[in-house]
Structure formats: C-alpha cells, structure tokens
Amino acid sequence: MITLEHVCKTYQVSKRDAGFSSALKALFHREYEYIHALDDVSFTIQDGEMVGYIGPNGAGKSSTIKILSGILTPERGVCLINGLVPWKNRIEHVRNIGVVFGQRSQLWWDVPIADSFELLKEIYRIDDSLYRRNLEELCAMLQLSDLLKTPARQLSLGQRMRCEIAASLLHSPSLLFLDEPTIGLDAVSKLAVRDFILKLNQEKKTTVILTTHDMQDIEALTSRIILIGKGSILLDGNIEDIRQDYPSTEEALAAFYRSHDL
C-alpha cells in the first residue's frame, strides 16, 4: 500500500536575463526563484491497483514518481510504501519496485539484450530458477525471444521499449512505475505494451502507477486517475468525472486544464 500525506517539494532555480551583461551580474549576485513542484500532495493507493497519474508538463508528475521511487527527498510530508520510507530505506525499498523511464534507457547500448538482463540478475541478486522462469514468461508475453541476441542500438523504439519493460520486471517487483511508457511508439507497439500492462496487473496483481500524456492509454488501462496541476492534486477519481459531454477524453482534459488555468 502506498500512502502519501502532505508531501511538499521545492526546487531552487537560479534565474537571470539573457545577454552577456546579466550573465556577468549573475556571477556576483545570483537570484533564485523557488518553484513548488509539489504542494501538499496526499493520496493512497491500494495493492494491486492500477492508477493513471496525469497532468500537463511541469505539473509535478515526475517529481512524485521520483519521491515514490526513493530518488528525491521531499521537504515535508509522510510517504510510506509497504511500511517503508523510500528515501530512508532506499535499498530495501527499491528491491521491490520496477521503474521504466520512457525517455531513458537502462539497456546497454552495445551488448545484446540478454547480457543487459544478466547484469540485472546480478544487481538484484535474482536466483537462477526465478530468473529463468521470469525471463521465459516475459519473453512469451512481450515476444522478446528473437530480440535477446541483438544489441540495444539495433532495436527499433518499440522493440526497445518492450525490452525496457521486461528489464524492469525481472526481479518480480510488486510495484511498477511507468513514466510515459508509450511515448513515441507506433500503433502496434502501443497496443502490445498496453496489453501487457493490463495482463500484468490482472494476473500478477502488480500495482502499476502510470504517467502518460496519451489519453488512450488511460482509457484502455485505468479506472482511477489522479490529476495533478501546479503541484496540487486537482482530481482523484474516475476518468468519467471530467469526460462529461466532450466528444473525446483528450478534449475534456484540455478543457479541464484550461478551466484550471494550467
């Protein structure tokens, strides 16, 4: 179970005008601006749930994911995931989670995928039988068998994303974070990825938290959405809550953003 209570995160950003003279000025006197990436965020997610975490760019989605996965420490607030505080019990906590950053690869560029997987086996200390079972299962579900011998640099984006997802699941985590997993994928790959996530959630009861800008992802996958804007939670509920009479979820969401001045 994930509980987040009154979490705040502020970034200090140095600021200056363009141009040489202001660059010179900034050398001696720097002006800072404080950005409230997260401002009193609270929610609870039960085991086995699948939640879509959405919001415009810069709303605080990634910051939340980073706090939940133990990368960032918030200034204030409580965060408990299966009884652990992510940034305090980092190593214990991350053993149980998988993270896919859609924009960043965790596969080794020049070596076959299978070698990257082997390294992960070592990193997570997965024992042989579990590793073999998981690998077989993931290969079957994501159709990876032909890709294992190819270096990551020779894979298409869709193929690579499937490998990324498999790489995050080799240690059978009970919680999976997907940060824009369908970004830039073609229709076929998108459907394959969605199918897989759905199956994973239903069959393995893996808790999935998904951030995306693709409303079709949300429609296909989640019943619950948490919508964040300017660092605060604006809506925690069902996609139907904002859908109303709009012809598509996309437009409903855009109207929602506009009405909240995001």
Binding site: Y11, G70, I71, L72, I91, V99, F101, W109, D110, D115
Partner: protein
C-alpha cells in the same frame, strides 16, 4: 565484488564492438605519455640532476605516479565523467537499484584504453629501476605495492570529490583538474623539488608526498625504515572524500524530464 566483475565483463564486451577505436586510443595514450618522457630526457641530459635526483631516479618517480594515476583513471572514470551522468539524469537509475551507489557509478565506466598509458608507465618504471641500481629487498617490494595502492586510492578520492561537487554545481569544476591531471604532471618529479612549503602541503593536506616522495626515498636507500608504510596513512585521505560524496547524494535533486 562479483557485481564489479560483471560490469567489467560488460565493458569488455562493449569494447569488442569498436576494436579499431580502442587500439587507436591506446596508441594515442601511449604516445602522449611518451612525449613527456622525451621532454624529461632532453632536459635532464642538460642538467643531469634535479635537487639530488638523477635522471633515472626521476624516471622511476614519474613511472610510479603515472601508473597510480592511470590505474585510478581506469577504475574511477565513472566519477571523472560524473557531471554527464548527473546532466542526463542517469543517476536516477542508480538510485532505483538495490546496490551501493559508489559501486554502480564505478561500474558505469571502466576505461580500458588507459592500458596504453599504464604500459608506458611500466616501461619507464622498469627502465628506471634497472638503471638506478636499486637492490631489491622485501621492504622495497612492499613499498612499491603500497605506493600503487595508496596512489590509486588518493587519485580515486580526488575523482570522488569531483563527483561529489557535481551534486552542488556542474559548472566551473575544471579547477579540480589541478589536483588530478596537475598532480600527474607535477608528480613527474619528487615533491621536494617544489620547496618545503609544498612538501608540507603534500604531506598533510593532500598526501601526494606520502605515496611518492617518502617511499621513493626508501627505494633509493635514503629513507627511514617506516617510509614504505606511509602510503597506508595516505589512504585516510579517502575518508573526507567519501563523506563529501555522502553529503552530495543527500543533496541530489535530479534533472527534469
């Protein structure tokens, strides 16, 4: 340790993909250091000694320092290029894995091409030894081994400081090179030639002298009997570096995406 071995194998496999590039880099590394070697050769042919050290003894000194530095650079390259790891947000990935951060950063880069420089260092070292008529004893072998270990630890420590500072600012960290590349260049000669003040600084602040000057004196039969053990004391330098790194990790704020 087993994990580091795994990383090592991965880098070796990646390397196989770009064989020519690897060999050319090695040759380049070798030639650059060879150039320095020639420079010293010509200078010392003129002056024959530097503050009581002969050409061959200076060679010995340079060989060891260069070897220490190159070893540290091969191992700790991940720290040396840590700013790009921060910039690209790769450090996030390190933090979501259930292993020690330092081990993972070390594993992220292993620079095999430094073998060129290490080879050059070994050549110089062996040559320096054979011509400066050092008689081998157990103590001297111990001294050389400890020098190599201590030196690698100190240079790795400085790389670690560099990486730790990356957590606070990414700009303007070039000055750290004074302590790494700079030390390698100055380390050509025994520290004592730079004066007493410098020797004190290099003994008590950044203990270069403990891995170079003092044990070297011992090798040349001019030092006190405890000198070979000084590199061990130098390893203490790693502690504050490590603490600074820990502080940096706490301060980490990640990059936007």
């Amino acid at each position: 340790m087993k994990l580091y071995g795994k990383y090592f194998a991965m880098h070796l496999k990646s390397l196989m993909e770009y064989k020519t590039s690897f060999f050319l880099t090695c040759i380049g590394q070798f030639l650059v250091s060879f150039n320095v070697f020639l420079g010293m050769y010509f200078m010392l042919r003129r002056f024959s000694t530097v503050q009581g050290f002969t050409y061959n003894e200076v060679l010995l000194c340079f060989g060891i320092t260069l070897m220490e530095f190159s070893l540290a650079e091969s191992v700790a390259r991940g720290f040396d290029t840590f700013d790009s790891m921060i910039r690209q947000g790769e450090f996030d990935r390190v933090l979501v894995r259930p292993r020690n951060e330092i081990l993972q950063v070390l594993g992220s880069r292993i620079e095999f091409s430094r073998i060129g420089r290490i080879l050059q260092a070994v050549v110089m070292f062996v040559y320096g030894f054979s011509v400066s008529k050092v008689h081998w004893t157990f103590g001297k072998i111990l001294a050389v081994v400890l020098m190599l270990i201590g030196g690698t630890v100190i240079f790795t420590g400085i790389f670690l400081v560099y990486a730790a500072l990356c957590f606070f600012t990414i700009e303007g960290l070039e000055f750290i090179n004074i302590f790494t590349d700079g030390a390698r260049e100055y380390g050509k000669y025994p520290v004592s030639i730079y004066g007493k003040r410098m020797l004190q600084l290099c003994t008590f602040v950044i203990p270069y002298a403990l891995i170079q000057y003092y044990p070297l004196l011992y090798l040349l039969d001019r030092g006190k009997p405890y000198y070979p053990l000084l590199p061990l004391a130098a390893c203490l330098f790693f502690l504050p570096c490590f603490l600074l790194w820990k502080l940096g990790v706490k301060h980490y704020t990640s990059a936007g995406s």
